[in-house]
């Protein structure tokens, strides 16, 4: 396949590309503005009935433990805040297709979701603890960091054993093998999709450089947060596929975030606790998917 297809060809020829409803994309773009309007966010959500239903189901989940039911998008924004609702809109938009298996990466049902959501929670935690990036933007970036895998999966079906053999033989990371075989890797494909969706630039950068944050010039803290969130998620075994942990970790990302490596074990504990707390969010979501 090497050299025969461009990244654009792959995206154009993949029939089952991930998608995010335009209403949810409008929510992200609005929430990203310094003068974001809660009313506009609520209006964008209301434009999409299915999105509204899922956001309300999440808002009324055990995770938030509200005393009374939230009945519409406007109320959700008022009660939970604009940033929480933006994250709920992203979760509601990505969950239905992220729970599908990805054969090309040997990911079973829900595993892509499990890994993406773990990275979102990890990146948010790191952003919050370090104060280096907006925790909610980091959450969204973490959630979307592997969208390129959804597009590439079909092209890698049945190739994984050979790719892993090549990785071992040539001492390569999995993304290096992707580049050797395809000419590009899942991070580049993901960034291409994110650009097509007109996502804010920091999100595009986080997707593009999540395995190689040192290459992002100038450095973006959100990229480092997603890189570290991805490491935590892989280490804890959340949604590991056939590529496993065959990636590189940059300790320079930790230095830029001013995270003391000695604190790693405590961060792991906080991360797992955060992830487990968030699981309450999904108790009802399968019915809404």
């Amino acid at each position: 396949m090497a050299g025969t297809l461009t990244l654009e060809d792959i995206v154009r020829k993949t029939t089952d590309l991930p998608s995010i409803p335009s209403a949810a994309l409008a929510v992200i773009r609005e929430a990203d503005k310094p003068d974001a309007s809660a009313q506009k966010v609520a209006e964008y959500i209301r434009q999409d009935q299915s999105l509204t239903a899922r956001v309300l189901r999440l808002a009324n989940s055990a995770y938030f433990g509200l005393a009374r039911r939230i009945l519409d998008a406007r109320e959700a924004v008022v009660v939970l805040g604009l940033r929480s609702v933006r994250n709920l809109a992203m979760v509601a938009s990505t969950y239905p297709w992220m729970i599908r298996p990805l054969k090309g990466y040997n990911l079973g049902p829900k595993q892509m979701w499990c890994h993406s959501f773990g990275t979102a929670v990890g990146a948010q935690l790191i952003a919050r603890e370090t104060g280096k990036a907006d925790p909610d933007a980091a959450f969204t970036a973490g959630l979307l960091h592997n969208i390129g895998k959804v597009a590439l999966s079909i092209w890698l079906e049945n190739k994984l054993p050979a790719m892993m053999a090549m990785a071992v033989r040539d001492d390569l990371t999995f993304d290096e093998v992707e580049r050797k075989i395809l000419g590009f890797d899942h991070a580049e494909v993901g960034a291409y999709l994110a650009e097509e969706w007109n996502l804010p630039e920091p999100l595009v950068l986080a997707i593009r450089f999540h395995h190689h944050p040192d290459e992002c010039q100038p450095h973006e803290p959100i990229v480092d947060c997603v890189h570290f969130g991805d490491y935590l998620t892989m280490s804890m075994g959340f949604g590991l596929g056939g590529d496993g942990l065959r990636y590189e970790f940059s300790t320079h990302a930790l230095e830029r975030l001013s995270v003391d490596p000695e604190a790693t074990d405590r961060i792991v504990c906080d991360f797992v606790a955060s992830y487990e707390a968030y699981e309450k969010l999904f108790q009802d979501l399968d019915q809404a998917a």
């Binding site: 804890m236 075994g237 590991l240 930790l254 790693t264 074990d265 792991v268 797992v272």
Partner: protein, 169 residues
């Protein structure tokens, strides 16, 4: 309980003398440690997440840490009639990211530190380890059929393979 499956989630300890299949799913840098007393026919498994408990923080789940989890599992097994001197174990997991670039991995090597810490506990407690599959960059699933004693490990890309038999047969 013969034929039933006991999922051992992260930081959990499960023990039984009724022959269930213990399962540790999706071990990344965590370690699954299976244990068995072939005389009392008491079995157990712990899913260790980190090497050591924090000195300044109470331990919420003993199974979370190697230095509290292994002995806590043995205590639970002892309550079912197991004797430490007869217990044999097998361990799997402890994967880590492929490389740490140009930096020093230090404390980030959770997989290796977990494997070392569990091995240290096994040694300190005088347990005999019959099988070990640790390290590398692949996630693992570990099963322990306490009816037959068979411990198996599989990765996402490899077939399930027998690691050892804790009944010794």
């Amino acid at each position: 309980m013969l034929g039933t499956q006991l999922l051992v989630g992260m930081a959990e300890i499960q023990v039984s003398k009724e022959g269930p299949l213990f399962v540790c799913l999706g071990l990344g840098s965590c370690i699954g440690l299976a244990a068995y007393d072939p005389v009392a026919r008491v079995a157990g498994m712990v899913h260790v997440m980190l090497p050591a408990a924090f000195a300044d923080k109470p331990v919420d789940k003993p199974g979370k840490f190697a230095d509290t989890g292994v002995s806590a599992m043995l205590e639970q097994m002892a309550r079912l009639g197991a004797s430490k001197s007869r217990i044999v174990v097998a361990m799997a997991g402890g994967a880590q990211v492929f490389n740490f670039g140009s930096g020093n991995s230090g404390r980030l090597d959770i997989g290796k530190r977990n494997a070392d810490a569990v091995e240290e506990q096994v040694r300190l407690l005088g347990l005999r380890c019959l099988g070990k599959d640790v390290g590398g960059n692949q996630g693992r699933t570990m099963t322990f059929d306490s009816g037959s004693g068979l411990v198996k490990v599989r990765t996402v890309t490899s077939m399930e393979r027998a690691l050892c038999n804790l009944r010794g047969s």
